[in-house]
């Protein structure tokens, strides 16, 4: 690209670069204008989306005073923390088994691990709905539970479902950092007399920690943002923030939704910044 032979070609190259610029500006406007509009109008002093009527914080006040939003937010955090902790532990163990051992069915299991990522979430959602309905029914008749005592879908089933797809995501991220690890470091520790467990605790684990934290952060984000799988696996009293927002969107657009959306965007921003800090630390 540095040496250009003839003037007409040169002009073509300039035109090409101009088009690349235009396309870039279009893409970023397309990606960010809707978000900017959404945030701006969460501060608009009018119930109608139509026009700008001045700055207000009253939609935020209403959101923070809304019992349903606060409880949905609490539920979201409970689910995200529980699912992240379980999925990170199981995902890390899985990736150690996959990277450090050779065993029968390893390749098959490798493929199976990718399935929850490939399968569209709606398919996983309806199959989990069928599964929980069947198994909870069995458990209720087995334990003789009826009426108010009966086991129902709720936050527990949501956590189970979120772990089911998050194990794969955590495993992929951690496996990458295990593969990038210099095997000489572990060999050196063992040559110096460390046993396997000490080597793992003092050498391997600290070195793959950025990967584990990165995987955990991804799991946390996916869990916090998930709507489809949660929608089909939750029950009464198990409303998370995306479910609450979806219900409101279906009724009508309102400035309160803009305010909740802005808060959710802020949370995502914080998570991105944290993830970037982790990546810097790990030196990538």
């Amino acid at each position: 690209m540095r040496t250009v032979s003839s003037p007409p070609a040169n002009r073509l190259l300039t035109a090409g670069k101009g088009l690349l610029w235009l396309n870039m500006i279009f893409c970023f406007l397309f990606l960010y204008a809707p978000i900017a509009v959404l945030v701006a109008f969460s501060f608009n002093d009018s119930r109608l989306a139509a026009s700008w009527q001045g700055f207000t914080l009253r939609w935020y006040v209403e959101v923070f005073n809304s019992r349903s939003v606060i409880s949905a937010f609490q539920n979201s955090l409970i689910v995200a923390f529980a699912a992240t902790i379980i999925a990170t532990i199981l995902g890390t163990m899985t990736s150690l088994a996959m990277e450090r051992f050779r065993f029968r069915l390893r390749r098959t299991y490798d493929g199976v691990l990718y399935l929850p990522i490939i399968i569209p979430d709606i398919v996983m959602a309806v199959s989990l709905l069928a599964f929980f309905s069947l198994t909870l029914g069995w458990m209720n008749s087995l334990l003789g539970l009826q009426g108010a005592q009966a086991l129902r879908p709720g936050l527990a089933t949501v956590v189970i479902a979120h772990v089911a797809f998050n194990i794969s995501f955590v495993a992929i991220v951690v496996r990458t950092s295990l593969r990038e690890l210099d095997p000489m470091l572990e060999e050196a520790a063992q040559d110096l007399g460390a046993d396997e467990w000490t080597t793992f605790r003092k050498v391997t684990l600290p070195l793959i920690m950025p990967g584990i934290l990165g995987g955990a952060l991804l799991a946390f984000t996916l869990s916090l943002d998930d709507f489809v799988i949660t929608f089909f696996t939750t029950g009464p009293g198990g409303t998370t923030l995306p479910i609450e927002v979806f219900g409101r969107i279906r009724r009508a657009i309102s400035p309160e939704i803009n305010a909740i959306s802005t808060i959710m965007l802020m949370m995502s921003m914080i998570l991105i910044i944290v993830s970037q800090i982790f990546q810097r630390r790990s030196g990538r």
């Binding site: 690209m1 540095r2 040496t3 070609a9 073509l12 190259l13 090409g16 088009l19 690349l20 396309n23 870039m24 279009f26 893409c27 397309f30 990606l31 809707p34 978000i35 509009v37 959404l38 109008f41 989306a49 139509a50 532990i89 163990m93 899985t94 088994a97 051992f101 299991y109 199976v112 490939i118 399968i119 569209p120 979430d121 709606i122 398919v123 996983m124 309806v126 199959s127 709905l129 069928a130 599964f131 069947l134 772990v163 089911a164 797809f165 794969s168 916090l224 943002d225 709507f227 489809v228 089909f232 927002v245 969107i249 279906r250 657009i253 959306s261 959710m264 965007l265 991105i272 970037q276």
Partner: protein
């Protein structure tokens, strides 16, 4: 492998494998079973073998003047919209990825970060943003009214759904494209030009083939999730232009016909798997061809 190592492997593998088998593979298998069982009104199944669900899906006669019945049309529409979405994302995503790859490393990271942000932000919220703009009394129409232009009615049309699909998918196309364009050796371009190739030939004979893995990865990451989209057609299509996600949700929800919903999910999964296998075969064949 020593006995100790074998025990260690079991401890590491068992909990994750248990979770994935019980809460992913078994539910998927259950859908296959449900698809050949009888319907219980209001949800659930009657445990007796029948092919009613598949008969309904494939043998329901098309309405007068149509080639396919409504269910098959929803399948075709979902695939067609996934094709259009992938094409548009590729068309604007490829030049964007190329642009980013041409920048200095420090600036490059800023652009990449800007592409990455939407990936981390809530999909529901980003789709709602478009509803806020495109709604009949939304921002777009109030701007048009203020400019004394005629109002437009885009919400609940295929156009609105396609805007939402492209919007949600673009980062998934750009990131793998960038990864492969970044590896492109620009000396190859110079070499081709020195040998007399014009820009079009450089593009079709050098740049596109070399970055083909990124193109294929990007299309895969866009195509599959789009076919199963539920949020975008529901919020921006108002459920009026249904995709597969809507059909599945309806059968497992209000319509309460679980065997029929299961049959749709089964056919959907079979089509996806057939697509993935066909892709892997063609990849293998291309690698062979490039080696010989």
């Amino acid at each position: 492998m020593t006995a100790r190592k074998r025990t260690l492997l079991r401890i590491l593998l068992a909990p994750g494998a248990f979770w994935i088998v019980v809460f992913f593979l078994v539910p998927s298998a259950l859908v296959f079973i449900y698809s050949v069982l009888g319907r219980q009104a209001g949800g659930g199944v009657v445990w007796s073998f029948t092919l009613e669900a598949y008969q309904r899906l494939f043998l329901t006669p098309p309405p007068v003047g149509a080639w396919f019945n409504d269910f098959v049309i929803i399948f075709l529409r979902s695939v067609w919209w996934a094709v259009i979405t992938s094409a548009i994302c590729l068309l604007i995503g490829y030049p964007l990825a190329f642009f980013i790859a041409l920048q200095r490393p420090s600036i490059r990271n800023v652009y990449l970060f800007l592409v990455l942000i939407p990936f981390w932000t809530n999909f529901l919220v980003r789709t709602y943003a478009w509803k806020f703009i495109l709604n009949n009394n939304g921002l777009l129409n109030s701007i048009l009214t203020a400019l004394e232009l005629p109002r437009v009615s885009i919400i609940n049309t295929p156009t609105a759904v396609l805007i939402g699909l492209v919007y949600g998918s673009l980062p998934f196309m750009v990131l793998p494209l960038y990864a492969s364009i970044e590896k492109l050796d620009f000396n190859l371009i110079e070499a081709a030009q020195d040998l007399g190739a014009n820009y079009l030939r450089v593009l079709t004979r050098v740049v596109l083939p070399v970055t083909m893995p990124g193109i294929v990865a990007g299309i895969t990451l866009v195509f599959i999730p789009v076919t199963g989209q539920y949020i975008v057609p529901t919020i921006l299509g108002g459920g009026r232009v249904a995709m597969l996600g809507n059909l599945l949700a309806q059968q497992f929800g209000p319509a309460g016909n679980w065997p029929f919903g299961s049959a749709i999910a089964v056919i959907f999964m079979i089509l996806l798997m057939a697509g993935v296998v066909a892709y892997l075969r063609s990849e293998a064949r291309r690698e062979e061809a490039s080696l010989s």
